[in-house]
């Protein structure tokens, strides 16, 4: 894709300083998002995908977390050196974010209308009446029936799917350039999940924005993303176009993940599982982080960490591809 670059993340490192030592939750992540592109980040819990998203928004609690190094350029402006007050103007207006749990990320003491109007009044120079009209319009846009009435509802009066729609309306009300969606469908039922994914796609086309979607569900990525990053234990393991990754996965971890999901067309009675579980990573970790569980490992994997290698149009972190270059 040769389009204008909206977000450029370079060698981002976010560490958490805990009593048990330093945890490199995100360890050297680099990627770009072009205008109108949808990037999916997949990984298991603890792989650092949510921390990556929160680092971009500068929402890492400090202490214990800290962005140690790297750069995050949004529209050619460096976000990491911005003051808190400047950051506040970007959050919600230029970059919108929706969270996993629509039950806890809305304030139960205010009506959904109040919460959307608040976002509008902070970021746009308009009065309350105008903001209310805009809020109703936003609710209508995300498919909430009779928004004039619903605007006076409290979050508990709505279902999970409705609440996630409100969250999306709130994130989009200032027409951001980038929407970060952190597991937006994980807490929802399958039929509602399909609705929300379609809504995000429609909104993306309508507002011509870019989307960064974080999920552990490869099905969601296959459905919505143009390009994909596979993360494991804080590292990018594979980065490329979604179509390439699903038709020709490069990294043994990606292959393992794809093989371990039961699909509808699959017959036969055993799943190929990846043995073992995620390693506890510390700063002095040696070798490839997936080596313990890898079916194609060699001795080198335990000693030396593989670099990110370019294969065709994709990048992969695996020694296997080193001599093929």
């Amino acid at each position: 894709m040769n389009r204008e670059i909206l977000l450029e993340v370079n060698d981002l490192k976010t560490y958490f300083y805990t009593v048990d030592g330093v945890v490199p939750a995100v360890d050297g992540v680099s990627f770009t998002i072009s205008k109108g592109e949808t990037l999916g980040i997949v990984g298991e819990s603890g792989s650092g995908k949510s921390v990556t998203a929160r680092s971009i928004m500068r929402l890492i609690p400090n202490p214990p977390g800290k962005i140690v190094s790297g750069s995050i350029k949004f529209k050619d402006e460096e976000l990491l050196t911005k003051k808190d007050s400047e950051m506040r103007m970007i959050r919600g207006s230029k970059i919108g974010m929706i969270f996993q749990d629509p039950m806890t990320s809305l304030n139960p003491l205010f009506t959904v209308g109040d919460q959307i109007i608040e976002a509008l009044c902070i970021h746009q120079n308009i009065d309350k009446k105008e903001a209310k009209e805009k809020a109703i319009e936003a609710l209508r846009m995300v498919g909430i029936p009779s928004p004039e009435k619903r605007i006076n509802n409290y979050p508990h009066q709505m279902s999970g799917g409705m609440r996630q729609r409100v969250m999306i309306a709130m994130a989009l009300v200032c027409s951001p350039d980038l929407l970060i969606a952190d597991e937006p469908t994980t807490a929802l039922d399958v039929t509602i999940q399909a609705q929300i994914l379609d809504l995000i796609k429609d909104m993306k086309n309508m507002l011509n924005m870019s989307v960064m979607i974080i999920t552990h569900d490869l099905g969601v990525v296959a459905d919505i993303a143009d390009s994909v990053i596979v993360m494991y234990a804080g590292k990018m393991m594979e980065y490329g176009r979604a179509f390439d990754m699903f038709s020709n996965p490069l990294h043994p971890y990606t292959k393992g993940l794809l093989d371990s999901i039961p699909t509808l067309s699959m017959e036969g009675d055993r799943l190929k599982s990846i043995e073992g579980s995620l390693p506890n990573v510390t700063l002095d970790y040696k070798g490839c982080r997936f080596a313990d569980r890898c079916s194609e490992r060699c001795e080198k994997c335990f000693v030396e960490e593989p670099p990110l290698i370019k294969v065709n149009d994709s990048y992969v972190r695996c020694h296997k591809y080193l001599n093929r270059r």
Partner: protein, 324 residues
């Protein structure tokens, strides 16, 4: 999987209404009809998958069958006995044969007991073994679930989610049950761990001739592990059939929508989705007629007035819909 013709569990018209109380004297003002007339049979060695969205009553069904929740009405014939009519002492004896694996491996293990003792409790309660024999049995169970005896003295907080779920499985196996209710056993686990647990569940089913009631909302997983599948909606079964029949030839519009909402991990498989409008009605206020009426894409006049019965459409494919 070998299924015999012997019926292990027969559920007839099971109902569970939770009262809604209000005011100083806790007057019952309404009922939440969580399970509202569910019937099915389960043969020995068979796996029945129970799917549906949250709030449809699938977990309540599972728990009511074990009488962890007392049923409001209905018959549960387990191994030739109606367990609804058993008293506490008889029920406790019977419980040995029916166990449950819970969804959340974090909250379903006592944090103050070691892995070995958690499993040991299940043995003690049923007076199955004592002393050396008890210890040998615990170690054997830890081996079966792929943990090994060296984990005997570890506490739950030292285990990962997948390992904890293995302890939960070992505990359920401790008293050689005939039936295990698996209540969303993998939905709290990471993708790469889910396959391990599914494989383990299938291995122990073959080894110990277990019968499963497998409750889940992930249809691909349910298809993988089940023989038959029942789809629930708002407290009722709307369709029940052999798994291949259900996936190839779904009848009920809700089943069709549910199947079309499955996301395939392959961008080439993109297909047209059936979009369901609206939300599930509240189980406190179930509408007259078909429960799916307000969201159904091909409803007719009769649907809003008469509730459809679950009927055999041929070959044991049961569907509750007027328009088929």
């Amino acid at each position: 999987m070998s299924t015999s013709n012997e019926v292990l569990l027969e559920v007839k018209d099971l109902k569970k209404y939770f009262p809604v109380k209000k005011g100083f004297i806790s007057k019952k003002v309404n009922y939440v009809k969580a399970v509202d007339g569910v019937s099915f049979t389960l043969r020995k060695g068979e796996t029945l998958g129970l799917v549906g969205e949250s709030g449809c009553g699938k977990s309540t069904t599972g728990r009511t069958i074990l009488r962890l929740i007392e049923p409001t009405d209905g018959i549960i014939n387990f191994d030739g006995e109606n367990i609804v009519s058993l008293n506490k002492k008889e029920l406790r004896k019977k419980r040995k044969d029916m166990q449950i694996i819970f969804q959340d491996p974090y909250s379903s293990l006592n944090p103050r007991l070691t892995a070995g003792e958690i499993i040991g409790r299940a043995i003690d309660v049923n007076n199955l073994a004592k002393g050396k024999e008890r210890e040998r049995r615990i170690n054997e169970l830890l081996d079966i679930v792929g943990l090994g005896a060296r984990f005997y003295n570890r506490y739950p907080n030292e285990f990962s989610g997948g390992q904890r779920q293995r302890i939960g499985i070992a505990r359920a196996l401790a008293c050689n049950p005939k039936l295990i209710v698996c209540d969303e056993p993998i939905s709290a686990l990471d993708v790469s761990i889910q396959a391990q647990i599914i494989n383990l569940l299938q291995d122990i089913q073959d080894e110990f001739q277990l019968t499963y009631l497998f409750i889940a909302h992930n249809l691909a997983v349910v298809k993988h592990i089940s023989d038959n599948i029942a789809v629930m909606y708002l407290g009722k079964i709307v369709e029940m059939a052999d798994k291949n029949e259900l996936f190839e030839n779904p009848h009920h519009p809700y089943t069709k929508a549910l199947l079309s909402a499955i996301l395939s991990p392959n961008p080439k498989d993109k297909k047209e989705r059936i979009k369901l409008e609206g939300d599930v009605p509240s189980p406190m206020n179930i509408p007259k007629g078909c429960r799916f009426y307000n969201r159904c894409p091909n409803k007719s006049k009769i649907c809003s007035e008469v509730e459809p019965e679950l009927k055999d459409m041929g070959g044991g494919h049961l569907t509750a819909c007027h328009n088929i």
